[in-house]
Point group: C2
Chain length 394, copies 2
């Protein structure tokens, strides 16, 4: 049978000197920490774009969020600055200083409001995502011996119902802020009980807010569907192991937990294991031994695998892959020195890895586990794909 095949091409409507528009869906912003800039990688085209975004300030712990219409990315830096990047032109089109020292930012579920969590002065600032104008400042304080003290704020995330959730470090209190109401009220203030909450995360379904505490093996878990019930404290210790009571306890890096299938995988800083918790009860299930001290645990969109990175020169070039059904390591890959960040492409075909010491961004095929592309970058760290616009809590 004959088959009619024809293609017609759009006449070139662009003027001289203008490059054809390229797709922005596969653009990935990579923090180049040492130079204070963002490089832009197109993982589908497998090339670095010629333009870098520079002069962004101190990019330690920089985080980037994206508007739902994919017009803008917003980079928050430690120096208190939020920079707005046009995702098409890659120009910086605005900036605002919200504090002297910020730690995190988030964009509301409806994409209209950006919130930053701040250390100095401690609080939360809400700004308009469209024009960056200031909407509201919530100063964070706490009372002690009849006096009022300032508190640092951290772990800000977006949550369902157009809410923001964050935690006061010295105040020991979780805030739920309603970003749909005039004045952006603090709707709930929930004590965390344990001292010094220091970092937090939200599960990908937006249901649980989990707070880590300094020098504690316990975390506080808040079910956001029942905030009035308060937090539950959960231990990350393995009851079958013996612990030296004098050894310091290190807080796991909260942003790095992976939720897959019915489990939560927690990389434990200072121990050569991941803790596996039950996703619905938050009970400790078992440990998974790994080759070194784990830092990041990243889930595949298929939820079949967790990829784990490590600290320490002997281990930090390796990734171990955990099967989420077998609950054991099924593969070990050597990718590049001092892996700082990993992220799966949205449908899980590939994994992007930044190898900071080796100045490399590496694209690994998730099925064959072979390296398919390597780009040279200057001390790369955080990796932010634009598809984070479409995920709760990112």
């Amino acid at each position: 049978m004959r088959r009619l095949v024809w293609i017609f091409l759009l006449p070139l409507l662009l003027g001289p000197g203008q490059a054809a528009s390229e797709g922005i869906g596969s653009r990935v912003f990579v923090v180049e920490r040492a130079s204070g800039s963002l490089a832009v990688y197109d993982y589908q085209a497998r090339k670095l774009l010629p333009k870098r975004i520079t002069d962004l300030g101190n990019l330690r712990h920089a985080t980037m969020i994206f508007s739902p219409d994919l017009r803008y990315g917003y980079l928050a830096t430690r120096g208190g600055k939020v920079s707005r990047i046009d995702l098409q032109s890659l120009e910086r089109t605005g900036e605002i200083f919200t504090s002297q020292n910020s730690i995190d930012n988030a964009i509301s579920q409806d994409g209209r409001v950006i919130a930053t969590a701040e250390y100095v002065p401690g609080g939360v600032t809400l700004i308009d995502a469209e024009d960056l104008h200031l909407l509201k400042e919530h100063r964070a304080t706490f009372e002690k011996d009849g006096k009022t003290f300032p508190s640092r704020v951290t772990g800000i995330v977006d949550a369902p119902g157009n809410r923001f959730v964050c935690v006061l470090i010295e105040g020991g209190e979780i805030w739920i802020i309603d970003a749909s109401q005039p004045g952006f009220p603090i709707e709930h203030r929930i004590p965390t009980n344990a001292a010094l909450p220091y970092d937090a995360m939200i599960t990908p379904d937006g249901r649980y807010y989990v707070v880590g505490h300094l020098e504690s093996d316990r975390v506080s878990v808040l079910d956001l569907t029942k905030p009035e019930a308060g937090v539950r404290e959960i231990s990350l210790r393995d009851p079958t192991l013996k612990y030296d009571k004098n050894a310091p306890v290190k807080l796991p890096h909260m942003a790095s937990w992976a939720v897959a299938g019915k489990w939560v995988f927690v990389p434990l800083v200072g121990e050569k294991r991941l803790a596996v918790l039950d996703r619905s009860t938050w009970e400790f299930h078992r440990s998974i031994p790994v080759r070194g001290h784990p830092v990041y645990a990243v889930r595949s969109p298929t939820e079949r695998e967790i990829w784990v990175s490590f600290s320490g020169e002997e281990d930090d070039a390796f990734v171990q892959i955990i099967d989420t059904e077998k609950l054991e390591v099924v593969d070990t890959l050597e990718v590049g020195g001092r892996i700082y960040h990993m992220d799966f492409t949205p449908r899980g075909s590939h994994v992007l890895v930044s190898a900071n010491r080796d100045n490399k961004l590496v694209l690994v095929n998730a099925a064959t586990r072979r390296i398919e592309d390597v780009q040279t970058l200057e001390s790369p760290s955080g990796i932010f794909g634009v598809w984070r616009a479409f995920r709760i809590g990112l």
Copy 2:
């Protein structure tokens, strides 16, 4: 404390007559069935774009997929035509006829290959996503009494590992095609046992492929992590209900199942209930009674709610909302006559609803459940947001 707030604006680099680029992340393509066109709605800006894409042919059962870089959408129509749409300019920039009668299309996990499932001639055609050139045709046939007959193919989806999965209607066979290998081999051919598979779906994690059979209350479930184990047959009947053995059994519309939390919600055509199955065992758990004959069940990205639409003039203007923990209807909304399609915005803030008889596209706030925008369209049906680019199986 003083706070430095300043914004600088990008100088307008665009020439005369060119509109400023608008974000494509919130663009939604809506099939206008009667006129054979696609309307484009920006749910973030809450406006219909002035441009329509017309002359697209028979848009009954049209499906649209998107490239991972968000350069293109691909519309497959019953007439066997795949049209490529530039997502920025909204121009049609190519088309190919792959058959005389197609039913479905899918894009590979790596975004490089498009596959269409075809009735006439029966088979699967693989085309290059970049330039639409023909890569491979797999003719579908089956043997009976020593003779070879053609088979229709349906239910094509992308699956992890860069695979496509589809099912042969007369052949009664599931195919797994490897889109990474030269020649795109059919890697597995798995019999479905029960007669006349007619439609299929894949779970959002890409793990289970579920096939519905004509005139049967049973579906075949294939675990794609263990294809060699073959299919399991699952009944959708409620063992606590009595059935008239002479009454015809209707196949539930497969594309409309919702997977949320630990459950699968199946809207049963011809019964006033949803069946709730266990997501890991696929055992029947219970029924949820609803006001009419359910058609679509759509999950919130939070997995807390399922929104259900209905057939029949008495019910088809209503949506019922099911709580996925309580497993019961918690709300009923009247949205518009003959609801054909619903989809949540990516972070779950809103639901888009097409009301075909009322010629309306409706934007409902998922938290307040209030209608926030209504647009007039000509007999709207399928709703395809560009964020489908970032989801397995869509």
